[in-house]
Amino acid sequence: MQNAAPLVTLTARKRRASPMRRQETLMAALLILPSTLGILAFAVLPIAASLGISLTDWGGLSKPNFVGLQNYATALQDPRATSALSHTLIYVLLAVPTGVIISLTLAVWINNLKSGWLRTVFRTVYYLPMVTIGVAVALLWQVLLAPQGLVNLILGWLGVHGPNWLGSPAWVLPAVAVFSVWQGSGQGIILFLASLASVPKELYEASQLDGARPFETFRFITLPMISPTIFLVMVLSVIGALQVFEAVLVLSNGGPGDSSTTVALYIYKTAFTFFKMGYASALAWLLAIILIALMMVQWRNQNKWVNYDQV
């Protein structure tokens, strides 16, 4: 039945090709018009405008002057921009591997549970922070991470004297990373769970018959089968972490000093606190270039160790 349908359509279309096509084009134009207008006005044209603005010294009010690539040259020598970049990279290195490992581990554990409703319970609980307002939970973690907060109380039970997390330049980025892992692991977990559920059951049964130990099964069956998802979660996490904004704004406002000012926060402050729209646009493009370059590097590297047979 399903195979026959396209054939019938083909002959039907041939018979009255031209009126059908015109109807199709007209219909499509009407259907995509509202969405496409919005996308053009508030995404595509702004992208072009942003490139233009980045070549000016515009403050947003006065008349802009064309300055060529000056803003880009300034950015490369701006110590605040380079320090913002290094804070961002440190944050990425702290948050992404931790987040990916934790969410993969939890997903594998959940997947190994035999009881279906327990799996639902844990998946629901771990995703919970994702449905809250970021500012609200960041305010909550500000309280938890206070020198005399819950985190340091629990560390104290373990015999560790906890630092002043958000007040110390050395500990503020790890603290933000802890918060982000707590808040964001749910996303990775549900992606890993979907991927784990799609691994053919026969593979597990075969390895069990061969007497494989659980770790061997994980290493030689599960891991290769879900590697595309691991790659995907890593890319998504890196992209998200490179743009970290809300967490640092609320938890530490970029401080103490500039020690947790990330690229996104620096761009925001340059544009909307200091009103240097031209310079901020150039910074935004430099970030966008880094994001795109990273995507491409990871895209090329994935072929070496990613299995796409089953996806």
């Binding site: 349908a5 995404a43 799609s198 995907l232 996104a264």
Partner: protein, 292 residues
Amino acid sequence: MTRSEPAPEVLTRRDVSLRAKSQGSQAALLGLLTLGAVVILLPFAWMILTAFKTPAEAYTWPPVWLPAKWSVANFTQLFNTIPFARMFFNSVWTSVLIASLNILSAAPAAYAFARLRFPGQGLWFGSHLLSLMIPWQVTIIPVFLLIRYLGWYDSFTALIVPSIASGFTVFLLFQFFRSLPRSLEESVLIDGGSWFTALRHVALPAAKGAIAAAWLFSFLGNWQSFIWPLIVLQSSEKMLLPVGLLSLQNQYSVNIPVLMAGATLSTLPTVIAYMFVQRYLTDAAITSGLKG
């Protein structure tokens, strides 16, 4: 999209010692996962407990777990300090409206991209994908300048109009329509029906679940949206919850228990609603993640 169905019990016919071992590992898994769940839930418990404490109780060391007297004083002070109810209401109606507009603009477009053939198709669909991939830092400045030029600054128009079209929602529904079997619609076309009839009577009814999921996802995104409202909405009677909570932090008279009262009231509604719709929401989240 894959759902995790209960795995068939593999070990039923194995011997007793293996079974005991497997029960032991199930118990270990349960213990580890419960520990993880405590890490997720304890902060929420702490937030709610703190919302009922007196400032003195909130600042003592070592901390006290339970308030000596459960009082709603912090909630009263919250409502006296910021127009919390107004902010909550603003967040609700704007999120509902924007999510609905997203669906109204995205569902037809997604259908056209998935099913019809027309000139410029790749270009128009490509611009939707472009809007998904470009980081917000690039577009936010020109859009802000445009909004100010149009005289929309500090109005709900500034919040709503740029958010009507959503490349994300289009992509989500595109994935769905593409996975729908063509045969039903084609029978409508062969019977002389128009594409519109096929969309209205076949594709849309079939897409109810996907549309509900996309709506929920869009609602949640707008409910959580922070930076755009922070930039374009200024006056306190137009503030949405996230920015309102941040402004609460900057009020000198506000103490930790009042902050936690605000955090509690703004967190609980979506958390409770999520318990009922979690499958829809995570399905949408999986599709969005797997767009790759």
